[in-house]
């Protein structure tokens, strides 16, 4: 049992999607996250256990290695892809309510900003940490955030901005969200954003990378 979970975990960590994926070379020809997750479920392993014991720890290792500059964005994306192939089998259990997520995370790039790679990475890693992620896309108006927050009570919100000009829009959106939903936790990030700016605009948390956001979410859910 645990051996299978360990295998799934390392497939996700190293981006081994399925039997056909040539990467990593050492795992060529072997079954990947896709097949092994199916096998685990067929063997009666609980989907929640696969998530908690294999997928989430794998993504957490990936996030930590990224924070330490031991791996770079491409490997993080490959891991996310392997995770997604595993999730194909697990997702139905979410829908049936048999497996629960840690919470809902709403993310978007603020008004006037079209950058999405950084935001996508954060979304992926938070999903990999067991959260349901609602990605509102880029150039997201304050109204859209408000609507999403109303539809998902208790959700945490993440805002991304990559230009100093759009950081001003971030400030405005955070102010309005905090006024309407004082209890809602708001995370901010993006290249020019700093912890000091986060404090100034009264957001709850800033992280320079996805793992910091994941670690923070652990402390609140």
């Amino acid at each position: 049992m645990t051996e299978l979970l360990e295998k799934i975990s390392s497939c996700v960590e190293y981006g081994k999607v399925d039997i056909n994926s040539p990467y990593p070379p050492a795992m060529k020809g072997q079954e990947g996250a896709f097949e092994l997750t199916r096998q685990a479920l067929d063997a009666g392993i609980n989907p929640g256990e696969i998530l908690e014991e294999a997928l989430i720890p794998a993504m957490s290792r990936v996030g930590q290695k990224f924070s330490r500059n031991e791996i770079f964005v491409p490997q993080m994306l490959m891991a996310a892809k392997a995770m997604n192939s595993s999730m194909i089998h697990i997702r139905p259990y979410y829908l049936s309510g048999q497996t629960k997520r840690r919470g809902t995370f709403i993310i978007g790039t603020v008004t006037g900003d079209l950058h999405d790679i950084g935001k996508n990475l954060v979304a992926m890693m938070i999903e990999g940490a067991g959260w349901e992620v609602l990605d509102l896309g880029v150039d997201v108006s304050t109204e859209k955030y408000i609507l999403a927050a109303e539809e998902n009570p208790g959700a945490v919100i993440g805002l991304s901005a990559l230009l100093t000009t759009t950081m001003e829009n971030m400030r405005k959106t955070v102010a309005i969200l905090k006024e309407k939903f004082p209890e809602t936790k708001i995370l901010v990030g993006g290249a020019p954003v700093t912890a000091e700016f986060c404090e100034r605009i009264k957001a709850d948390f800033y992280s320079p990378d996805p793992q910091g956001a994941v670690d923070y979410l652990k402390t609140i859910a």
């Binding site: 964005v73 900003d113 100093t164 000009t165």
Partner: protein, 209 residues
């Protein structure tokens, strides 16, 4: 992307090869520049004036431009296609490919800017002058919003770049800026020494891919 030479995982190097080849044949990048003589430099305010229009370039960039007697303003783009291809891949779930498109798009616009800079350098040289490095609004303390001023010099630009209210250029893979020209200006071979952004991924990029 951050990798030391030769250490990038195989799918990444393969994709880079594949996409570079594909994009080579498309060749959508464009650059446009205008050279202005008779500029006015205000040492106290650290500003540069061109025919009554003033750029507040701030001390770091001003120091590099202070000996110039002319400047080139430029805009440059990799074109809209690359961003669209990146987005399409991402939406279809091929995140890695989408990312490689994105990174190559940045590389293409930087290369186009390099070629344009070379062109300006040769023009300057034929007049017995030298050029500075290129500087962009949003770097080294120069407010990114000053792109609005810069774009007044490029109404109806043939690059097809538009500027949003928030000073974002569309297509995203675009750069804008200024280059100083003069007999007394210097080109800094290692530009990072004059900037203090420790988080910039371009820092030390010569040794990484």
């Amino acid at each position: 992307m951050g990798y030391e030479p030769g250490t990038a995982p195989e799918p990444v190097t393969l994709l880079i090869g594949e996409i570079s080849e594909e994009l080579m044949t498309i060749g959508e990048s464009r650059a446009e520049y205008r050279i202005f003589d008779g500029i006015s430099l205000d040492t106290a305010r650290k500003t540069i004036g061109i025919g009554g229009i003033v750029f507040n370039v701030r001390p770091i960039i001003f120091r590099q431009l202070k000996d110039a007697d002319a400047v080139a303003l430029f805009i440059c783009t990799a074109g809209p296609l690359i961003g669209e291809m990146s987005r399409k891949c991402m939406q279809e779930g091929d995140l890695l490919k989408g990312y490689v498109y994105d990174v190559i798009g940045s590389e293409i616009v930087e290369n186009a800017a390099d070629r344009m800079q070379e062109d300006i350098r040769e023009t300057a040289l034929s007049a017995g002058k030298k050029i500075t490095n290129r500087f962009s609004p949003g770097y080294c303390g120069w407010d990114v919003a000053e792109q609005h001023t810069l774009f007044t010099f490029f109404r109806n630009n043939f690059c097809g770049i538009t500027l949003t209210e928030s000073a974002l250029m569309n297509p995203v893979k675009s750069v804008s800026g200024i280059i100083g020209i003069g007999a007394g200006v210097r080109f800094a071979p290692y530009q990072c020494n004059m900037c203090d952004d420790k988080n910039c991924i371009y820092r030390n990029r010569k040794t990484k891919v």
